[in-house]
């Protein structure tokens, strides 16, 4: 799939925790960092509130990659929400792997409120990697 992706622009949905990663996204904006427009950020209160179902739904609906962004482990605004998220994401990736689906379309990033440049870099990296991977077969082949 990696070849012949010329002009392919991936759709990525990012579920960003209100306190850390969404604030980092705001900070990236305030400092006028530039990054590709492929990621659609969805502000959620905590990475621990992101149901894996949302990620599966995103990938089935046409997203080429999904990202969950939370506070650094140990730093959660809600004590331990990001640990819960970390476990759920690991589980979801395992399930994807055992089903033969692209587990590497599921990204987890811990970006604190002060890390605007890191957020911009994460979006660049995820977009670039997804461009290489090509369109997500779950949305095209399965047409659910």
């Amino acid at each position: 799939m990696a070849e012949g992706n010329n002009g392919f622009e991936p759709k990525i949905i990012g579920f960003l925790c209100n306190w850390c990663t969404a604030s980092a996204a705001d900070l990236a904006g305030t400092t006028r960092a530039q990054y590709p427009p492929n990621l659609h950020p969805v502000r959620v209160m905590c990475s621990g509130t992101v149901d894996p179902v949302y990620l599966i739904k995103s990938l089935l609906s046409g997203a080429d990659a999904v990202m969950v962004g939370g506070c650094h482990p140990g730093d959660c605004h809600y004590v331990s929400g990001n640990y819960k998220a970390r476990r759920r994401m690991a589980m979801l990736q395992n399930i994807f792997e055992s089903l033969g689906l692209d587990a590497n379309r599921i990204w987890t990033r811990w970006i604190s409120a002060s890390e605007g440049p890191e957020f911009a870099a994460a979006v660049r990296e995820i977009t670039e990697e997804t461009r290489k991977q090509g369109p997500n077969p779950l949305s095209t082949d399965w047409a659910l």
Binding site: E9, K11, I13, W19, C20, S23, A24, A25, D26, L27, A28, G29, T30, T31, R32, A33, Q34, Y35, P37, H40, P41, V42, R43, V44, M45, C46, G48, T49, V50, D51, P52, V53, Y54, K57, S58, S61, G62, A63, H77, Y78, V79, S80, G81, K84, R88, S112, A113, S114, G116, A120, S139
Partner: protein, 660 residues
């Protein structure tokens, strides 16, 4: 009830409208289901902008409002209050950010930015459609304040708050408070000695019953939220019992180890047990473990033997202290740039090239030279050149202007003229004397016969060309007003070095979740309208940790931050997250999974009713339980799976070409 949405798209001047097509965006918003009206306006947060929303709510019977503008952390409250004023429950108002995560970060591609904004607006409409009216809840505010940093900014903040008879914890990492200001000689433009005006304030800090001073301590962790923060403070062992010590000095007189004094920038020596300066507050020495023979080899107990009150305690250990506070004020100050890498100025190579902080120590009456300006060989300089903008306004180092160097350079010139009648040369790029009384001070220096040479200095050298240059340092550069190359031989050169962010800025920003602007200083919430606020509610940043400024500006900010903390305390309550978890009683099977996962013990299974019950006073609305609930009986109010599914549908639609 029919849902009637109003969509309001803000131009934010040109911050949004300059980078994406607001008209196309409005047209698109108007075409969305349930949208009754879509409008765009220059500044939605202005009074006319808010009135537009209020009028539409009343006239068009809107029951949902979506404002598409900046981040909700900036103006959600503004728009919710506007809705409330027009009789709409504030929770029926939502924001879609099209500035921070769209126009500002895709500013070179109008079409892509407009299409992404369309997706964000469509998703925002879906989010607001599912919102229900909620009741606003409040939490009490802890009346204590935590101030981090004991320079003039922290001291001023702490004293202002203490004056309102509320408790302040002041944490300072050095053994004494006083900060950079304690190291200065005189202050511009009125030439009062810094210590004369600072020392009484430092003493007040100890005298005040409302201030709890924690020196030689650092905040290592901060948790909680506005009104209710919890901080963990690491109090380093001083190895001197503060209750017994009477600062007699016997310990440091006897101590055999000599080290460069950090306070005097190496111009004097201190012992391994030391107080940083005579006016230190608290006036109690500390043992520097890195150099103390007792801690290095274990066999020296000279200070313990010398102490008449038996205050030396080698066994003392670091303490971990937990404090609770409603507001946190960060005043961690600045560092000065080390000019060694700017090799053309010869710092470190020539003895008589010194930095401005070193000159300040020399000029200080209680400094290492007793207020006398001397060369390395202890003679008095007859001519001095002051090089401005060393590292400031320089693309290779710091792009910004450090704002204080012109004024302190003039202060040095006047000091040198008045005390030594030396020839003084100001090597400047532009004179920036913009404060109250500053221009007058500049004129006085000029009238006193100080020489002003405009142009950036190319080099400092000791290679002589003429006899009169022998034994001197020669400043080589261009006088851009005369258009000639110049060589000025002088005895001493002072480098007015840039102010820069603290070396520990990264660590501090992680603990207090502060953002940094491109220059590396902490980012304020709004450069004009909220210069001391930060992105985290209840945390404020003041003084030079937020950008270079002089003492007057620092004190003004510190007073402002104190007012903000007192405002919070006097209100006594903060708004809490209204969107708590709720249980669908029809679906809940009382399995108890939620009980186990809740970090706040806010859910319990009622054994009689066989239902999970949410304690709304404890629930923080994180939503962890909603994911864990196997039957999906638990939902976060105004944030449900249906809403999210719709948002995902909007986000994955095809927008490419819609704005072409």
């Amino acid at each position: 009830m029919e849902k009637r949405v109003g969509v309001y798209i803000c131009h934010c001047g040109s911050n949004i409208a300059g980078y994406l097509d607001v008209e196309k965006l409005t047209e698109y918003a108007q075409s969305l289901d349930s949208v009754v009206v879509a409008r765009h306006y220059a500044f939605m947060c202005s009074d006319p902008g808010q009135d537009m929303i209020k009028d539409d709510i009343r006239e068009l019977d809107l029951n949902r409002v979506l404002v598409c503008s900046c981040s909700p952390t900036l103006h959600l409250r503004t728009f919710r209050e506007a809705c409330q004023a027009a009789g709409l429950n504030p929770h029926l108002c939502e924001m879609a950010t099209i500035r921070e995560i769209c126009s500002w970060v895709h500013s070179h591609d109008e079409q892509a930015a407009t299409e992404k904004a369309m997706a964000l607006v469509a998703a925002g409409v879906r989010r607001v459609l599912y919102r229900d009216p909620l009741e606003t809840r409040f939490a009490p505010v802890n009346p204590n304040t935590l101030v981090v940093g004991g320079g003039i900014a922290g001291i001023q903040t702490a004293l202002e708050i203490a004056d309102s008879e509320h408790k302040v914890f002041l944490v300072e990492k050095e053994p004494s408070i006083g900060g950079r200001m304690a190291q200065l000689g005189k202050t511009f433009p009125y030439l009062e000695p810094a210590m004369d005006i600072l020392a009484p304030r430092m003493k007040q800090m100890v005298a005040s019953e409302y201030v709890e001073l924690m020196t030689y301590s650092e905040v290592t962790e901060l948790s909680g939220y506005i009104g209710n923060f919890k901080a963990i403070i690491n109090k380093k062992a001083r190895n001197v019992d503060a209750a017994k010590c009477d600062s007699c000095g016997a310990c440091w007189e006897k101590c055999p180890v000599e080290v460069d004094s950090e306070f005097d920038h190496g111009l004097s020596k201190r012992k391994a047990i030391y107080r940083p300066f005579p006016e230190a507050v608290p006036n109690i020495p500390v043992i520097d473990h890195e150099h103390c023979n007792h801690f290095l080899s274990g066999d020296c107990t000279i200070c313990q033997e010398a102490c008449p009150v038996k205050a030396i305690d080698y066994e003392q250990e670091d303490e971990e202290i937990e404090v609770e506070a409603g507001a946190v004020i960060v005043a961690t100050g600045y560092d000065t740039l080390d000019p060694t890498p700017i090799t053309q100025y010869g710092y470190g190579k020539f003895d008589n090239v010194i930095t401005s902080p070193e000159f300040e120590r020399m000029a200080s009456a209680s400094g290492p030279t007793g207020g006398n300006i001397v060369l390395k060989d202890s003679s008095t300089p007859k001519s001095v050149a002051i090089i401005h903008c060393v590292g400031s306004r320089d693309e290779n180092y710091r792009q910004y202007c450090s704002r204080v160097c012109c004024m302190y350079s003039l202060k040095y010139a006047r000091f040198l003229k008045e005390t030594l009648d030396a020839d003084v040369y100001q090597m400047y790029i532009d004179m920036r004397c913009f404060g109250k009384g500053h221009e007058e001070f500049y004129k006085e220096a000029s009238d006193a016969g100080v020489n002003f040479v405009r142009g950036k200095v190319a080099q400092v050298t000791d290679i002589t060309q003429e006899d009169e240059e022998k034994g001197k340092l020669i400043v080589v550069g261009e006088d851009t007003l005369l258009g000639t190359l110049i060589r000025i031989p002088v005895d001493m050169i002072i480098l007015s070095v840039a102010m820069q962010p603290r070396a520990e800025t990264d660590k501090i920003s992680r603990v207090f979740l502060l953002g940094c602007s491109a220059d590396g200083f902490f980012l304020e919430r709004h450069p004009k309208l909220d210069p001391v606020g930060t992105m985290l509610d209840g945390v404020f940043a003041v003084g030079c940790c937020q950008g270079p400024k002089d003492i007057s500006d620092t004190v003004a900010q510190a007073t402002g931050a104190a007012a903000r903390a007192i405002e919070l305390i006097s209100k006594g309550r903060v708004e809490m997250e209204a969107a708590t978890a709720s249980v669908d009683e029809e679906v809940c099977s009382a399995c108890g999974f939620c009980e186990a996962i809740c970090a706040y013990n806010a859910i319990e299974v009622d054994p009689k009713k066989r239902l999970a019950v949410v304690n709304e006073a404890l629930c923080k609305g994180c939503g962890a339980c909603t994911v864990n609930c196997p039957s999906k009986a638990l939902q976060l109010k105004n944030f449900g799976p249906k809403q999210l599914m719709d948002v995902i549908d909007e986000a994955t639609k095809e927008y490419a070409g819609l704005a072409s």
